[in-house]
């Protein structure tokens, strides 16, 4: 018979619980509970004062009811009464009730805090422990306010009992986590570190958790803990298994404490002191050696505890990343685990090896296990283990084994669990791109992905293959041939139709020489899929058709018939209808030349971070990306944690590949130059986003479009105000200048510290502009800060024509001034001079940075020097619209951070200014005051000149 009622058994409670258990249905249970609640309520309200035992019993019943999942809205007062009982068991139940059912009723909190205060002052260790447990369990701000300064005193006082110290340490840890601002640092911190020396291992265990948490936040204040932790660890690992008595767990000496100490050491770089460092290395070697010794017990607890310490030691070795022998030994050890009969160990070995793969010292050693890992992928019965195997293959992939790994992943994909397919697709796409030497292989791989798992191929993936094909002429013919063949399949995935449509529309001409893929055959093939596709795909196909008209005049009539049919011209979908109307009209009125210009082959996409990577990052967090060793180390040296840094370095390794179809960070205004604008633009009045962005978006740049519907090709822009410079602070495109002769339009792109500006000069007259020249000049000071190179333009602009000039910009260091654009030309015999301030300003070199509220405030505090802050208070010049303000801040280049400012009317942003010499982190906060129609703008950066300049620029915008 089990001892079901032990200690101070409460018979009434036991009867109630057993009644509930005997209830045959949910209804019966609820009925029984309601009966009990009514009974308890009447007892609590009754005239007769309840004795402590009854109170305890009823409070305990309420607790049981609550834990069954029912709401409890009374009994709190009775529970609080129990707190002041002298009987331990009554007090204990009172505290349990409070811990489980905290109520923010302020009167009650005051009473609870009062009781806690009395118990803390009681000098009775059991009562003190109950009070400390309660604070740790509730961890509310009110409690932190009341006790955060008292607990450190209890913790370090000489006469505090060991068990109370343990509770106090973890209580403080909980408060530090929930309300770090309320826990004051002070003299006690130094004394806490010395608890690592305590004789009582329980005290050391509790203290090491507290110190680790504090050291993660303020490593400098707890540096002395390193040598103490190493000493302690060394004593533990070299002790005989029985030395530590009750702290030995299945023949393993103090496993919990060992793990905690190893964890604490991961807050710091390897010790600089050679002796200490040697001692630590010795510890780690001992732990690795022990893994090879025969087990002292067959119990799984023995091996688990031993391996827990081993894995934590390996984590530390990887963290230090400085001892090649240790890293290789760690890798060999994990290699043994890969074939262990315990599933848990195989799982952990795969997981741990992922991080080892990114160290230059152990990358090669990890690669030797490729066959075992591939085998795991094929044979493991547990999907979570297979998932780890996929992660590891991804992490160990490099140029030497990419083809094998990608092939294995593709074949696994055929049978993979639905839950992980999308992630595998992303990984395959990234690896295929990153390690492609031969781009035909890349194209084949992606088409295979679509064939095997079309539903899981996200937009990013198929955008990307198009982008790469467009940027690389060596693969275009092959791509056209391959998609053409793939489309022959009777049933093909819609994503293949999209890729096929786009690629044939651009490069169908490359295979048109073969009669088996003549223009008409290509068109018929595409059109045979048309009716099976969704609206967005159909819209894309229509764009492919108009491109066909340009590529193959011989199919013009056939295509015009299709466009002209009622099912297009009168389609219920406005997008289809609009495209059909516009394309039909375009194909009828435009001359061959115009058609050729408008439907020109897509220009190469600008180089940018792969949106696939960004997507995977979002899915998995930054930890699981393969990165080059260099980037990892750079990140460390700079002490920076910006994930963009890693990206950047991998970009440098494969510059031509990291172009992107869709920008992932900055919204950009409408394109202005061709009918198939750089698809690095997301503008759509239509609910779906489309790479072939053909919506005639009304924008300031719209007048630069070649207008096919009207003869009067250029209409005057709305206004050409003097502050056109300031209009470009938060946007990159638009009309910079306009008079009756000339219109100057701008499109610019920025990436890190580099920028490229396309300037369009439109001749508004019907006469030629002669001796046209334009140059960019900078002041001497500015020349050192900003490198500007412009290419020469054609000296003649025909009437009504437009020419383009490209300007490359490099930001060397932060700057305030702006370069001037000087234009000179002769029109109808008169010499014209125009000088415009070129809108290149410091904020263009922003990279937005997402961060949590905690990080934000930590950095905000770090930039507390008065010189680093610039503040402006000013009157609103525009209506104070929230969305507009948001888009301006985003356009300014910083990431807009939600849920950081406690007042959600305020705006908070963060970003990094990239210059060639340095990177400057910037934080900003904008506080609108609607009543006063005022704003307060605060900028904090590590450079006073940057803070000032950014503040001046942004303040102009509101």
């Amino acid at each position: 018979m089990p001892a079901v009622s032990k200690g101070d058994g409460m018979r009434g409670l036991a009867v109630f619980i057993s009644d509930i258990r005997n209830c045959k249905s949910k209804e019966a249970e609820i009925k029984r509970i309601n009966k009990e609640l009514a009974n308890i309520r009447s007892k609590f309200k009754g005239d007769k004062a309840l004795d402590g035992y009854s109170k305890k019993k009823y409070v305990c019943k309420l607790l049981f009811i609550f834990l069954l999942g029912h709401d409890i809205d009374f009994g709190h007062m009775e529970a609080v009464n129990l707190l002041s009982s002298n009987k331990y068991t009554e007090k204990q139940i009172g505290y349990l009730f409070i811990s489980v059912l905290v109520n923010s009723n302020s009167d009650l909190i005051r009473l609870i805090n009062n009781a806690i205060k009395n118990d803390l002052a009681s000098r009775n260790p059991t009562f003190m422990n109950l009070a400390l447990h309660c604070i740790a369990n509730v961890g509310s701000r009110e409690m932190a306010e009341a006790f955060a300064s008292e607990i450190p005193r209890i913790l370090v006082a000489g006469d505090t009992m060991d068990s109370v110290k343990q509770s106090a340490a973890l209580c403080l840890l909980r408060l530090n986590r929930s309300s770090p601002d309320l826990v004051p640092m002070g003299d006690w911190t130094a004394r806490v570190v010395h608890l690592l020396n305590d004789q009582h291992l329980g005290v050391v265990t509790a203290a090491s958790s507290l110190i680790t948490t504090l050291a993660q936040k303020q490593p400098d204040d707890f540096k002395t803990s390193v040598s103490l932790a190493v000493t302690r660890l060394s004593r533990i690992v070299s002790s005989a298994s029985i030395d530590l008595q009750d702290y030995t767990y299945y023949f393993v000496a103090a496993p919990w404490l060992s793990v905690k100490l190893l964890r604490l050491l991961q807050c710091y770089p390897p010790p600089e002191d050679a002796a200490l460092r040697g001692r630590l290395t010795e510890c780690l070697e001992t732990i690795l050696n022990k893994a090879q010794e025969p087990p002292k017990s067959k119990k799984v607890q023995h091996s688990n505890a031993k391996n827990a310490v081993l894995f934590e030691a390996i984590s530390l070795i990887i963290h230090q990343d400085s001892e090649p022998t240790l890293l290789v030994r760690a890798c060999n050890q994990l290699g043994q685990f890969l074939q262990h009969r315990e599933t848990n160990l195989r799982y952990l070995a795969l997981e741990s090896m992922c991080t080892l793969a990114s160290s230059e010292f152990s990358h090669e050693a990890v690669k030797t296990h490729i066959e075992t890992v591939i085998n795991a992928l094929k044979t493991e019965r547990d999907v979570s283990v297979r998932q780890r195997a996929v992660d590891l293959l991804y992490a160990m992939c490099d140029r030497s084994n990419a083809k094998q790994i990608v092939a294995e992943m593709l074949s696994y994909l055929e049978t993979a669990d639905y839950s992980i397919r999308e992630e595998i697709v992303l990984k395959v796409a990234i690896l295929a791109e990153k390690y492609a030497v031969d781009y035909t292989w890349y194209v084949d791989t992606i088409l295979n992905l679509i064939r095997i798992a079309g539903d899981y191929v996200s937009e990013e993936v198929w955008y990307r293959v198009i982008q790469i094909v467009i940027n690389r002429d060596d693969v275009q013919g092959y791509a056209a041939k391959t998609v053409f063949e793939a489309l022959q399949a009777p049933a093909c995935h819609e994503n293949l139709v999209k890729v096929g449509g786009y690629i044939l529309g651009e490069f169908g001409n490359l295979i048109a020489g073969d009669s088996r893929s003549s223009p008409l055959v290509q068109f018929n093939l595409l059109h045979s899929k048309f009716h099976l596709c969704s609206v967005p795909t159909r819209a894309l196909l229509l764009s492919a058709y108009i491109k066909f008209i340009n590529l193959f005049p011989e199919v013009k009539a056939t295509i015009q018939d299709v466009l002209r049919s009622d099912s297009q011209l009168r389609n219920a979908d406005v997008e289809i209808q609009q495209r059909a109307v516009e394309y039909l009209r375009l194909s009828c009125v435009a001359s061959t030349d115009i058609l050729a210009t408008v439907l020109e082959e897509m220009p190469p996409f600008p180089e940018r971070e792969s949106s696939i990577l960004a997507k995977l990052k979002k899915k998995k967090g930054p930890g699981n990306l393969p990165e080059t060793n260099d980037s990892r180390r750079n990140g460390k040296v700079n002490g920076s944690t910006e994930p963009s840094e890693k990206m950047e370095s991998s970009n440098q390794c494969f510059p031509s590949l990291f172009a992107d179809l869709l920008p992932t960070n900055r919204p950009r205004p409408a394109p202005s130059s061709s009918i198939m604008p750089s698809a690095g633009t997301v503008v759509s009045t239509h609910p779906f986003t489309d790479v072939l962005n053909l919506n005639p978006a009304p924008s300031t740049g719209a007048s630069l479009l070649i207008d096919v519907f009207s003869e009067t090709s250029i209409e005057a822009s709305t206004e050409m105000s003097e502050d056109s410079f300031h209009r470009f602070i938060c946007k990159n495109n638009g009309v910079l200048y306009e008079n009756h002769l000339l219109q100057i339009g701008l499109r610019s792109e920025y990436r890190q510290n580099l920028g490229r500006m396309y300037i369009f000069y439109g001749n508004k007259t019907s006469a030629q502009l002669l001796n046209f020249s334009s140059s960019v000049t900078s002041s001497d000071a500015l020349k050192a800060q900003l490198n500007v190179q412009s290419k020469a333009v054609d000296p003649v602009i025909e009437g009504g024509a437009q020419v383009q000039q490209i300007i490359n910009i490099e930001c060397v260091s932060d700057f305030t001034d702006a370069p001037a654009l000087n234009i000179q030309f002769r029109c109808s015999g008169t010499l014209q001079n125009i000088s415009v301030k070129l809108p290149v300003m410091l904020n263009k070199f922003f990279q937005p940075t997402e961060m949590t509220s905690q990080d934000f405030f930590q950095r905000w505090k770090q930039l507390g020097d008065p010189r680093q802050e610039v503040q402006k208070i000013f009157k609103a010049k525009h209506p104070m619209d929230k969305d507009l303000t948001k888009s301006k801040i985003v356009g300014f280049g910083v990431a807009l951070l939600d849920a950081v400012d406690p007042n959600n009317e305020n705006f908070v942003g963060a970003g990094i200014i990239h210059t060639k010499n340095t990177q400057v982190g910037c934080l900003l906060r904008l506080e609108p005051n609607i009543q006063a129609q005022m704003y307060r703008l605060t900028l904090r950066t590590s450079r006073d000149t940057v803070s000032q300049r950014l503040c001046d620029l942004l303040a102009e915008q509101f």
Binding site: M1, K6, A14, S18, F64, Q166, L170, E312, V385, G621
Partner: protein, 159 residues
């Protein structure tokens, strides 16, 4: 070992004990519980004891009719968490004498007290079995002992 929460539930999915070390609303707690009970119960016996769930790691182990399930953070040590569970079961076993699910149902408050002596704020406070039990036994000095016959209730021993 920052444990976020610990749940004990039966093979039938009945929650027997819940301990939360992070502040969450009751609604969120119920949602998490529902989701995890379902996920863990769906797993087969020989599968590994760890799984990724949201941005946390779940470590679980079954003892007789009860599942012990802990959520830890990404950097935390899975194996040592598994042994945290085991040590807790040992503590319950030692205290109740061959503990079974029924002991935890009828003496849920004791199960909480023992847990509080062992883990606090999601961290191991005292790993010595002797020391934890010593603290608990103190509470039982003033006990009113009782014993009952519980008939045919589930009383499979956990260890």
């Amino acid at each position: 070992m920052t444990m976020q929460f610990m749940l004990l539930f039966s093979r039938q999915g009945k929650l027997r004990l819940q301990k939360w070390y992070v502040p969450l609303s009751d609604k969120e707690k119920k949602k998490i519980t529902r989701e995890l009970v379902q996920t863990v119960l769906a797993r087969k016996p020989k599968m590994c004891s760890f799984l990724e769930w949201r941005d946390l790691k779940i470590v679980y182990k079954r003892y007789a009719s009860l599942y012990f399930c802990c959520a830890i953070e990404d950097q935390d040590n899975e194996l040592i968490t598994l042994e945290i569970i085991h040590r807790y079961v040992e503590l319950l076993d030692k205290y109740f004498g061959s503990v079974c699910e029924l002991d935890i149902i009828f003496n849920f408050e004791k199960a909480y007290f023992i847990l509080d002596e062992f883990l606090l704020g999601g961290e191991a406070q005292e790993t010595s079995k002797k020391n934890v039990l010593k603290a608990i036994e103190q509470a039982d000095l003033l006990q009113e002992s009782q014993s009952e016959d519980w008939g045919s209730l589930p009383n499979e021993e956990l260890l």
